[in-house]
């Protein structure tokens, strides 16, 4: 029987794969952005899964700090990408 850390870690790898696939296959920019975000969540899941030792045991705080940083950077990058898209669409209109 697999433990929770293995389960979520493998899920993270599969999510990263699904995201990578969609980021290549989809042509719409916002969809690609969603795909990259799903990829990011997959990577975060792998990190946190390796930090997990059991339901009543303290986890390893270092991956937690890394992922916290990652989430903020991911949303900043997403916002920048959306602003770029908007600027492109505006310049198409002119």
């Amino acid at each position: 029987m697999p433990d929770a850390a293995t389960l979520y870690g493998l899920l993270g790898i599969v999510l990263a794969g699904l995201g990578a696939h969609a980021a290549i296959v989809q042509r719409d920019s916002i969809r690609r952005l969603l795909a990259i975000n799903v990829m990011g969540v997959g990577v975060f899941l792998v990190l946190i899964a390796t930090a997990y030792f059991g339901p009543n045991q303290d986890p390893d705080p270092i991956p937690h700090a890394l992922v916290l940083t990652g989430i903020v950077v991911a949303v900043a990058a997403t916002a920048l990408a959306l602003a770029l898209l908007r600027a492109f669409e505006r310049s198409d209109d002119e």
């Binding site: 029987m1 697999p2 433990d3 929770a4 389960l7 979520y8 870690g9 493998l10 899920l11 599969v14 999510l15 990263a16 794969g17 699904l18 995201g19 990578a20 696939h21 290549i24 296959v25 989809q26 042509r27 719409d28 916002i30 969809r31 969603l34 975000n37 799903v38 969540v41 899941l45 792998v46 946190i48 899964a49 930090a51 997990y52 059991g54 339901p55 303290d58 986890p59 390893d60 705080p61 270092i62 937690h64 700090a65 890394l66 992922v67 916290l68 940083t69 989430i71 950077v73 949303v75 900043a76 916002a79 920048l80 959306l82 602003a83 770029l84 898209l85 908007r86 669409e89 505006r90």
Partner: protein
């Protein structure tokens, strides 16, 4: 028996995340895709809670589900109705990429299982536990973020600032919202003070329990987003000078602290353990202000009108 039964919850969550991710990636309508992505963020936040990572669960609920959701919904609003075409690569390409990605996933899974089998005790985690009392805070995640690996966090604030500058330079902000109807205005009216209060609470509690500058900043930004959504006339951003100061305050104070530790002890960002608690609170206070400002301005998708006063008269 105990851990075994909890595995059913894990299985449910894993399946839900897979279904939601596939839905968000391949839903026919882009609007549905975005809503599914927001719900995906919610389930991921629950997964963080389940994996004993409440710090991350807080950040995910506030940023991953709340702010990113509002950001994406606002981006959809910008789009013209005709734009929602589902253009995809041809099937053969899709299958070929699928094959390659599957191979990569199998390889990574094998590597992950290898690593999982070998990890008995984490030396780094033990070092954190052993030196926690010198860090000035008792929440290990905050200790790592703002003391042991403070330069990471400084660079992160810089990345956030860089993203903000990028968004600011791309054009004017989105058109304002119309004023909310009384019902929504009332709801917004009491949610905003609650968000500010919760933000202050998370900032304070971050020293010894999950919470801290990022979660607090995200909640404050959410309060500002709500005020913007309500279209309140009396809601105005600070002037452009103050806004710029707020945006760089976090980086500036952090760097100042770093430089003074460099002068004092010869090591960049080596906080003296007697002062560490106070210094961390100082950094976090300004970081919260900067994070909130950056996240909100980034949500607006461009520079606010007050920014223009500089652009029209560059020499003023």
């Amino acid at each position: 028996m105990k851990a075994g039964a909890l595995l059913y919850l894990d299985l449910i969550m894993v399946i839900l995340m897979l279904v939601l991710a596939i839905g968000a990636l391949h839903a026919r309508s882009l609007r549905h895709a975005v809503i599914l992505f927001i719900v995906f963020g919610l389930v991921v936040a629950l997964a963080w809670a389940r994996l004993r990572a409440p710090d991350i669960a807080l950040a995910e609920a506030a940023i991953g589900s709340g702010l990113a959701g509002a950001l994406l919904l606002a981006a959809l609003r910008d789009r013209r109705p005709g734009d929602d075409a589902t253009r995809r690569a041809p099937v053969w390409q899709s299958v070929a990429v699928g094959g390659l990605v599957t191979a990569l996933v199998v390889l990574l899974a094998w590597a992950f299982l290898e690593v999982q089998g070998g990890r008995a005790n984490e030396p780094l985690a033990n070092i954190v536990q052993a030196t926690l009392h010198e860090s000035g805070v008792s929440n290990p995640v905050t200790a790592v973020l703002l003391n042991f690996r403070a330069y990471d966090t400084l660079l992160e604030l810089t990345v956030l600032l860089a993203a903000l500058l990028g968004v600011m330079s791309l054009g004017p902000q989105r058109s304002p919202m119309r004023a909310a109807e009384p019902m929504a205005a009332g709801l917004i009216g009491w949610l905003i003070p609650l968000l500010i209060l919760a933000g202050g609470y998370l900032l304070w509690v971050g020293a010894h329990a999950p919470g801290g500058a990022f979660q607090a900043g995200a909640l404050l930004a959410a309060a500002a987003v709500l005020a913007h959504l309500g279209g309140r006339r009396e809601f105005q951003l600070p002037g452009h000078t103050r806004l710029r100061l707020l945006a760089v305050a976090g980086c500036a104070v952090f760097t100042l602290v770093g430089v003074s530790t460099l002068l004092g002890s010869g090591v960049l960002l080596q906080l003296p353990s007697d002062w560490a608690g106070g210094l961390i609170l100082l950094i976090e206070l300004f970081a919260t202000a900067s994070i909130a400002t950056a996240l909100f301005l980034v949500y607006l998708g461009g520079h606010p009108p007050s920014w223009n006063s500089r652009e029209v008269h560059p020499d003023a």
